[in-house]
Symmetry: C2
Subunit: 213 residues, 2 copies
Amino acid sequence: MQETRRSPPDQEIVHEGEPLEHSLLLLHGWLARAKDRRSGRRQITELHVPGDFADLHGFTLKRLDHNIITLSDCVIAIVPHERLERLVADHPRLARLYWFLTNVDAAIHRQWGFSLGGSPSAARLAHLFCELFVRLEVVGLTRGNSYDFPLTQEELAMCLGMTSVHVNRSLQELRRSRLIEVESRQVRIPDLPALAQAAQFDPAYLYLDPIDI
Amino acid sequence: MQETRRSPPDQEIVHEGEPLEHSLLLLHGWLARAKDRRSGRRQITELHVPGDFADLHGFTLKRLDHNIITLSDCVIAIVPHERLERLVADHPRLARLYWFLTNVDAAIHRQWGFSLGGSPSAARLAHLFCELFVRLEVVGLTRGNSYDFPLTQEELAMCLGMTSVHVNRSLQELRRSRLIEVESRQVRIPDLPALAQAAQFDPAYLYLDPIDI
DNA sequence: CGCGGTGTTGAGACCTGTCAAGACGTGTGG
DNA sequence: CCACACGTCTTGACAGGTCTCAACACCGCG
């Protein structure tokens, strides 16, 4: 039995630089890793959905280079590093799995960097919706071709390196092309292959194929 | 004794998707991880300097989501995964160190994403020069306040998500402010604190403090 | 000497940010 | 039940940053 914790939206639950003694397994809700700019704007470097370890990398790094913030009401299991220590010592395959998971995080970072580095803004947005669809589907949080999506356009802007005004216009572009429907905190993707094509989305970087480790 | 390999510049030495049976330890020269855009442009997601494992993450992922390319003449040690397998089995601390190293890579990706997400172009450039200075200093490849830097402006552009024309102008801006001198494939940083200040560079994300693992 | 790659410069188009205002929806308190 | 406040979404006009295209300078090398 392990400790769980609840948190309302818009809380900073792990602070950059602070020493870590446990990692967070997200059970319900949405988290983000974020770095703050001097300008006051904030860059989100990854989104987390239920099933994700939000700061497993903290197990080896022992402090984070970013904050972790809640984007919705969240339920989070707290896993002491001491416990992870015992787990990986007793089960080498588990160690390998955890290592693998942090490497997938890195792959997601690379993909985001790729997007930020020069994809057209609508494609960037489309790519994010594709990624989230696939990741949510894995954990059974899609319903048909739609999923709950609590982020505001402002928060989307923090992920995509653009302003909320521009997110709004890019979203309209995707809507006009019938690639995306967003309403009341829900995303619907009428034609995933078409959206993936527009976004140049290839899920290979998520390494979802049957894992043999 | 392990196998080493030499390669001239501009070679793609690991191809996206290809199954991996070894990892590459860079002994001399510069490597980059790169993803190609449909447009033909290419995004570099990380630079590697001597001492870096360029694809240690491939040890758990077993294939890469990007290419690895040489940016200069390179000497590379080839480490079979089989050998890593034995090493980590026999030396759990080594396993932890390797895991740590891949997590630092992820931290570098985050920082690049942060830059790409909205730093002004001159600051992005300055930040990269700071990062490389610190990383090269660790492995003894700086001389005073300067270091060899073989990348063309075109290649810098691929790192920073901008065009080479814009890199050129941003570089001039840094030169005019006396923050950077670049000539004949050499970078000189007359005043590192000033450059770091302009770049908002904080080396914490490189996790260089004495490692206790 | 000429060639190819790299660096530099200019002009114009385009994308994205900024600022500001208003629409809409929802929850709260009177 | 209404009035209101607040957050979010939407829109318009404009400024500014960045890209594109093109030309030229420079340099090392065959």
